[in-house]
């Protein structure tokens, strides 16, 4: 028996809620399966019949165009039927509870829910509540987790660096509020990256972040030295108002990734960003559009990774 709510009694992936606590072989199986889907997405017919007849509901309680679209494309390329629910404009505004919404959709014979919510733990709550044959994918819950983003970053890193076991990886920016950073850290350490660094001002780091197995830097010049992979985070505008930072200009001066700062990392270092980017805040346009940027390949790989997760879950 295991107590991991993501695994079924055979130890297979039942839901994808977080990268935390997922065994390495399961993470690698997702990356390997995604490798096969990359080929599918490059054909004229970018579709396989695998999930024909399955119904996938995108439940987005928080606005998101990009992530919702990538899940929608992934589901459609697996031949599933996709329903997008913009919850802000639906029954929730009439007072229906979250679980009532889920119950109603389950009664319509949903096979899978893709859930995004501003509250940490929402996907877990739904996963505990639904019938065993329904699968949940967490598409971002509060500050907690965004596992498919973390996995597509791992896929991108492996694509360019081949192996995780000799890498220095730096995560730069607002670690405190970032579900992406948490998903990256857990996946990187599970996959055997020997050195994971976080670089941020003290006000944007969670307390005791070292306990996650990362090295903490407050200074880009030290933190970027000899780094192979830079994972940039989006600085959300609302953070600026919360007095954690003096101004966007000030942040860019110390933590914005410019060509000069990038030159401190290894010459073959790659730069990732989950999007959408704030050019001139966390990243300079010259870097975002530069030859070390793999930000657009990340988007392409994201489809294949989400196809892999959906097809593995649906088959378990």
């Amino acid at each position: 028996m295991n107590n991991n709510p993501q695994l079924n009694k055979n130890g297979e992936l039942q839901h994808l809620l977080t990268t935390e606590g997922l065994p390495g072989p399961i993470l690698l199986n997702i990356l390997d399966t995604a490798e096969s889907f990359v080929g599918v997405t490059e054909r004229d017919v970018k579709k396989v019949p695998l999930l024909r007849g399955k119904s996938i509901f995108n439940l987005f309680f928080e606005p998101s165009t990009r992530t919702r679209t990538t899940f929608e494309i992934a589901a459609k390329r697996l031949s599933a039927d996709v329903v997008n629910l913009n919850i802000a404009a639906s029954s929730q505004s009439k007072g229906e509870t979250l679980l009532d919404t889920v119950n109603n959709l389950s009664a319509m014979h949903a096979d899978m829910f893709v859930v995004r919510h501003s509250q940490s733990g929402t996907a877990h709550l739904i996963a505990r509540h639904v019938r065993a044959e329904i699968h949940i994918i967490n598409a971002g819950d509060g500050r907690h987790a965004h596992p498919t983003q973390g996995l597509l970053d791992m896929f991108t890193i492996r694509h360019y660096k081949r192996d995780f076991h000799n890498l220095r990886v730096a995560i730069v920016g607002d670690i405190l509020h970032s579900r992406v950073a948490r998903s990256q850290i857990h996946a990187l350490t599970t996959l055997g990256v020997p050195e994971v660094r976080v670089i941020a001002p003290k006000t944007l780091l969670p307390a005791k972040v070292e306990r996650l197995g990362v090295h903490v830097y407050h200074d880009m010049a030290q933190g970027l030295k000899d780094v192979d992979v830079l994972l940039m985070l989006r600085l959300q505008n609302e953070r600026m108002l919360s007095a954690r930072l003096p101004s966007a200009e000030e942040y860019f001066k110390y933590y914005g990734l410019t060509q000069e700062k990038l030159a401190l990392a290894r010459p073959d270092a790659i730069v990732l960003h989950p999007g959408p980017m704030n050019r001139g805040v966390e990243i300079d346009s010259a870097v975002a559009d530069g030859k070390q940027s793999v930000i657009l390949p990340q988007v392409t790989f994201g489809i294949a990774v989400r196809m892999a997760v959906m097809s593995i879950l649906a088959g378990n």
Binding site: S36, G39, D44, V45, K47, V48, L50
Partner: protein, 170 residues
């Protein structure tokens, strides 16, 4: 039970295909055993079009029962399917379901001029109206047995028989 020599069967199969080879003949092997055979055929028949490989996992009809096969390999069709004459290669032809999946997958790459099928062993008991144009040999086997092609040291191919309860049917 004495199984035939896979190397001898492959030599026979090569001889049967050779007269039909033309400039626009393309070979596509089905993972895993079919790819091993197709690699050898591709070399021996000196084909000019590059070798294709298919993993039919995304097209199988048993996904609902057994889920996704672990270790799916990427399919790779490095030639123009439109108008090509394709020979599909598999190690064991049995129910025909794998071949059905492979044909469906090929059509998602384009519209071939023709598809023929080469199998090292035809063990009968088809569940679909599918037949092979080139066959190494015909074997009748009990339904609880699974016949598998294996690759040994130096690339030598051999056939092995398993009880189905011990291994999933490929």
């Amino acid at each position: 039970m004495q199984l035939p020599d896979a190397e001898q069967l492959l030599a026979d199969l090569t001889g049967k295909i050779r007269p039909d080879v033309a400039a626009n003949t393309a070979l596509v092997g089905i993972y895993t055993g079919g790819v091993w055979l197709a690699e050898r055929l591709h070399q021996d028949l000196e084909l000019s079009l590059p070798l294709g490989t298919l993993d039919v996992s995304f097209y199988r009809d048993d996904f609902g029962q057994i889920g996704l096969h672990p270790q799916v390999k990427p399919s790779d069709i490095p030639f123009e399917v439109e108008g090509s004459h394709i020979i599909l290669v598999d190690d064991v032809l049995y129910t025909g379901r794998t071949i059905r999946a492979a044909i469906n997958e090929l059509f998602d790459y384009g519209r071939p001029a023709s598809i023929r099928l080469a199998a090292l062993v035809d063990r009968g008991d088809r569940e679909l109206p599918i037949t092979a144009q080139y066959v190494g040999t015909i074997l009748s086997l009990p339904s609880d047995k699974m016949l598998a092609l294996e690759k040994g040291l130096g690339g030598k191919l051999s056939l092995s028989l398993y009880n189905k309860s011990l291994r999933d049917n490929e």
